[in-house]
Symmetry: C2
Subunit: 107 residues, 2 copies
């Protein structure tokens, strides 16, 4: 059984995003991602074999989806389903206070 405060403590700030697997049960995996201004590299697109559901717990971010060149601005409380193989990238994340994502991956 896992009990964890996802907002406190946060990892010390660094150049890279912080990624922590919170739990992994069968085919379902929960991760916490803490972003401090990072974005996907120019021209990079995620193309994932799993479905991912992200929930923004703090901060702000902008996702871009290749399909329709759709931009989605997210604030705390936003949930986005990213279907498998939906090409997307992170355009921007708020640095301070940090942006905290919960990501759930499943087949």
């Amino acid at each position: 059984m896992i009990v964890k405060d996802l907002l406190d403590p946060l990892p010390p700030p660094g150049p890279d995003e912080s990624l922590e697997t919170l739990l992994s049960r069968g085919d379902v995996r929960f991760e916490r991602i803490v972003s401090t201004g990072q974005a996907s590299p120019p021209g990079f697109w995620y193309d994932q074999a799993e479905t991912e559901v992200v929930v923004l717990l703090a901060g702000a971010a902008t996702l871009r989806f290749a399909d329709g060149d759709r931009l989605i601005a997210l604030r705390a409380g936003a949930l986005v389903e990213i279907p498998a193989h939906a090409r997307h990238r992170v355009e921007a994340t708020q640095a301070d206070p940090p942006t905290v994502w919960l990501a759930v991956f499943f087949p």
Copy 2:
């Protein structure tokens, strides 16, 4: 593809908790629960066949687990894994502002 703000709008206040299925994909189900002071009835214990992971997005709540008679106080940002058949109950939820839960169920 689902894009939803879980914190705005909230359902109109009422006597009961609000429960909304956000998405259901294969064996994995995401629900939003909005509580406004409700608690489990006296003597009632949940005993669920699925694993449930809850994340508190707003408000505050207290869970009780039968095993060890463990009380867990939750604030926004808290994640709790409730394994299948872990008997538990909701002792209290903050009414105002409302308590918003994201619940993820899977086998």
